[in-house]
Amino acid sequence: MQNLEEYKGVFVFAQQVDNKVDGIAYELLGKAKELAAPLNTEVTAVLIGSNVKDLCDNLAQYGADRVILVDDPELKDYRTEPYAHALASVINEFKPEIMLVGATAIGRDLGPTVSARVATGLTADCTVLEIGDFPLVAIPGKEAEQKHNQLLMTRPAFGGNTIATIACPDNRPQMATVRPGVMQKIEPIAGAKAEIVEFNPGFTPDNKYVEIKEIVRAVSDIKDIMDAKILVSGGRGVGSSENFKILEDLAAAIGGQVSCSRAVVDSGWKPKELQVGQTGKTVRPNVYFAIGISGAIQHVAGMEESDIIVAINKDEDAPIFDVADYGIVGDLNKIVPQLTESIKAAKAAKANS
């Protein structure tokens, strides 16, 4: 049986790839700082890699009080093993109360493996994390059994149709993976320093060490759609790869970027990194144009937090109209090019006035 009292502190897996800290690490640090305040505890970043020590200061600037550094040549590129050994060893040695991991293609592999290894629960793809009581309301007559200062982890399920709040009351650490783009980073604190603790549990390759034969990077200079303020997103209704030109023109006129639905990626019209939705990226721009997108729940789950949603679709029953602030039933091929011209004209008029 674990002695739960021994477990202290909010820990963040500081994902790095090619010796660059991933944005999700900063987002998690921002959230960890908020969670640490009511618990009156510290924020620790766990940095795993090879020759990554110079990244510690970046983590400090985004809110880490302490960095546990596991640095070993075996850890150069991500592999489930030895990364799982590194993180599980840190958990067993330093006993965090909370362990946060990004819900990335790395974190969604590392998280489950580590949680099974240290025998605790893991809640996937969380969108809200807060400290509270479990049960939320004490059972009458059993008030003493209600646990306080628990991590309450809220996540969508069923393609975003239901939402559940989950606790992990009897095991430590309380582990969660968190969707990228949901938590807010803090403004970096220039010159901040963290205590650095170097820790190496030893790495002996065994049957679980796979061999990386080749790494192929997607060559791309595409800007991350998660950073865009305005997204002009197209779906199957756009009709062809060539016809995305009218969306690109609109995006250029309004100062936005093009994104797309899964159907577009499946058809090979646009690369996967532009995909919005449950199996793509979660975006929350100021304005989201959904053009020729029917609005499957998996797509909506990735864009419904946008401030303003404008939908153009010729099918008046398309589910996208259920989430759109402004829905226009009509032919995108006629409306979009005229809209582009109109916006150009409006901007020109404003510039001249």
Binding site: V17, D77, Y78, R79, T80, A84, A105, R108, D109, G111, P112, T113, S115, A116, L122, T123, A124, D125, P135, P156, F158, G159, G160, N161, T162, A164, T165, I166, A167, C168, D170, N171, N207, K208, V210, E211, I212, K213, E214, I215, R217, E273, V287, I297, E304, I309, E316, P319, F321, A324, Y326, G327, I328, V329, G330, D331, K334, Q338, S342, K350
Partner: protein
């Protein structure tokens, strides 16, 4: 070669999700289907069977009616089906589910285990890697391509901005993406076989090397504090303009009002 494919019966979300009057999901009104990522995993196993020869066993955990997806898998070309079902296993989270499935798999011979990356009802992507962890074998998740060469398997593993070609010695576990392939249809002969096929049914007593404290609702470290329908922002305005000009006027008007342009 022996391959185990883990599959799950899930409610179909295509064509919309149905709700009860009280706002809860109406699972009865939705078709129960084989989870799409799992089906891609099954197809990958069947292709290996076609190419290099393999015995493919499909395994599922669920209610007795989950036997339907095992029969569908056999109709597609799988050889055997195992259903793990028991009341004491109900309400399991991913820890208890993976413990249960690992306990069942310990009774079987295998070179390769294939699971789907994630199920469309829970979307956690946790059970595959956790089964591998319980069994002490390597896991390669997010597989876009699988090739077998002797006692080794080579997998194209997808990441956010790259892929790795990874080689592992079998036995190992692979989680499949639905982008991996287009699953084949059931064949008439296969459907005939599936009707006759005997499904092995296992309960708690058949699980090897597992403790009761790690099973079912009680053995689940994660507990649901609250579950509800997502409160969605309601629909805004919907207009059907007479002409594209009117449509543009409407949009520009709204964007100006909101200070976007």
């Amino acid at each position: 070669m022996k391959i185990i494919v883990c599959i799950k019966q899930v409610p179909d979300t295509k064509g919309g999700v149905k709700f009860n009057p009280d706002g809860t999901l109406d699972r009865g009104a939705m078709l129960a289907i084989m989870n799409p990522d799992d089906k891609a995993g099954l197809e990958a196993a069947l292709r290996l069977k076609d190419e290099v020869g393999a015995e493919v066993t499909v395994l599922t955990m669920g209610l007795p009616k989950a036997a339907d997806v095992l029969r569908e898998a056999i109709a597609m070309g799988a050889d055997k089906g195992v259903l793990v079902t028991d009341r004491v296993l109900g309400g399991a989270d991913t820890w208890a589910t993976s413990t249960t499935i690992a306990g069942a798999i310990r009774n079987l011979d295998y070179d390769l285990i294939i699971t789907g990356r994630q199920a469309i009802d829970g979307d956690t992507a946790q059970v595959g890697p956790q089964i591998a962890e319980h069994l002490g074998i390597p896991v390669i998740s997010y597989a876009q391509e699988i090739k077998v060469n002797g006692d080794k398997v080579t997998v194209k593993r997808q990441y956010d901005d790259r892929y790795h070609m990874v080689e592992a010695k079998m036995p190992c576990l692979i989680t499949a993406l639905s982008e991996l392939n287009d699953p084949r249809y059931m064949t008439p002969g296969g459907i005939f076989d599936a009707c006759k096929a005997e499904i092995t049914t296992w309960g708690r007593a058949d699980l090897k090397d597992v403790e009761d404290c790690n099973l079912g609702l009680k053995g689940s470290p994660t507990k649901i504090a609250k579950a509800s329908d997502k409160v969605r922002k309601g629909a805004g305005e919907k207009v059907t303009p007479e002409s594209p000009e009117d449509a543009v006027k409407y949009i520009v008007g709204k964007l100006t009002e909101k200070h976007v342009i």
